[in-house]
Structures are given as C-alpha cells and as structure tokens.
C-alpha cells in the first residue's frame, strides 16, 4: 500500500525566512509525485508534478525536488500570502492509473 508522510506537521516562519518541507514516500513504482496548496475552506490547488529522481521544478518562491525516497518543497523568502497547507501526493504503477494517495500536509504560517 502506498504511503506518504509529511513533516513537519506545522511550520511557522518569519517573512523572508527560507525553509523546506519534507515528503517521504513508499510506493510500488512511482508514476508521479505531486504538490498541492490548500487554503482554509478551499479545495487543493495544483503546484507541481515530478516524475523521476533528480527532477526539479520552480514556481515563484517555490521549488520542488525529488529523490528516490522523498521530495522537498523549498520556500525561498516566503511572504504572508504563502501561508497555507501544503499537500504531497503520489501515484504508483501498482495502483489504478488515476488513484492518488495524499499525505496529511504541512500547515505553513508566515508571519509579517
């Protein structure tokens, strides 16, 4: 069974204080790893898809990286509007093509 573990559960940063969120995964053949952002009372918003170890993707202050066992979401010089819960999810070759397993998320708070 696919497993996704995210750490820390919660993170509080000062504006401009860079940090990283971790996503560790166990899958039977990784088809893809995804990062989503979720604001309170809203559905998740897609950020990135990573397919193979060594791959990196960037969007504004966010950069996602992937190894064979984990993914990191690096946040550079965060702003208060980056406050949200960040979800990691995986899709495995053993599962149905479209079945995705989510982690429990990291709740990020950026203080002005």
């Amino acid at each position: 069974e696919d497993q996704v573990t995210q750490s820390p559960e919660a993170l509080r940063l000062q504006e401009g204080e860079s940090s990283s969120l971790n996503c560790s995964y166990t899958v039977s053949g990784l088809r893809g790893l995804f990062w989503y952002r979720q604001d309170p009372g809203k559905g998740p918003e897609f950020l990135f898809t990573l397919y193979s170890a060594g791959e990196e993707k960037e969007k504004e202050r966010l950069k996602a990286t992937l190894t064979k066992k984990e993914s990191f979401l690096h946040i550079t010089a965060p702003k208060p509007e980056d406050s949200a819960t960040y979800l990691c999810a995986v899709q495995s070759e053993a599962g149905g093509y479209q079945k995705v397993t989510f982690g429990t998320g990291t709740k990020l708070q950026v203080i002005p």
């Binding site: 996704v4 088809r31 893809g32 995804f34 009372g41 809203k42 559905g43 998740p44 918003e45 897609f46 898809t49 979800l87 999810a89 899709q91 149905g96 093509y97 479209q98 079945k99 995705v100 397993t101 989510f102 982690g103 429990t104 998320g105």
Partner: protein, 117 residues
C-alpha cells in the same frame, strides 16, 4: 463559471438519513474524482470516473456509498444510512483524460462539508 462547483457547500443531516452531494466539473473534463477529507488529514480517494463509467471505485468505504455520472458531466455522490463517522469534507476534482495512463492536473472544487448528527 470556469471552475469545479459543488453543492451544497454545507449539509447537516441526522444519523440514518440519505444524502446526495453534487459535483459540476469543468466543461470538457471527462475525468472526475471524488475524495473525502477529514479534519487534519489529506484527501482520501473514493472513486474515479472516466466519462460515464466508474473506472476505479476501490476507495468507496462500504456499500452505503455510491456515485453516478449518467451523462458524463455532473456527478452525484450518494450516501445511505449516514453515520457520524461519515462527517467530513467531500471534495470533487476533474481533469482532462490521459489515455496513456499518465496524470493530468486535477482541478478541485471547494468541497461539501457534511455533518452527521
């Protein structure tokens, strides 16, 4: 509207009652998914439709849960004999199909918050 819409936004019901939750996907998105999200947890996969058929319903917790998509657009998640443990936010997402079995970005709706008293 350009996004996925879900109705109602909130539903309060009594234990044992029947409820229906509606999802209206983005026009042209043939793939549709239902998830359940409990407080402090990530979304939990329930069912995936490709067109009108349920391609993967392995996430439905038991036979009290059923979903339909009769015309390949709007979908309804139906829960019979609701239990207090069914209380959660029910999320719907849609995407373009990837017939090669890959992954297309899923666009999520705002969810329906179901409370079973």
């Amino acid at each position: 509207g350009a996004g996925v819409s879900q109705t109602p936004s909130n539903k309060v019901t009594e234990k044992g009652k029947y409820v229906e939750l509606r999802c209206d996907p983005i026009s042209g998105h043939t793939a549709l998914y239902w998830y359940r999200q409990s407080l402090g947890q990530g979304p939990e996969f329930l069912i995936y439709f490709q067109g009108t058929g349920a391609a993967d319903d392995s996430g439905l917790p038991n036979d009290r849960f059923f979903a339909v998509r009769p015309e390949g657009s709007v979908s309804t998640l139906k829960i019979q004999r609701t239990e207090r443990g069914d209380s959660a936010v029910y999320l719907c997402a849609s995407s373009l199909p990837d017939l090669a079995g890959g992954y297309n970005e899923q666009f999520f709706g705002p969810g329906t918050r179901l409370t079973v008293l």
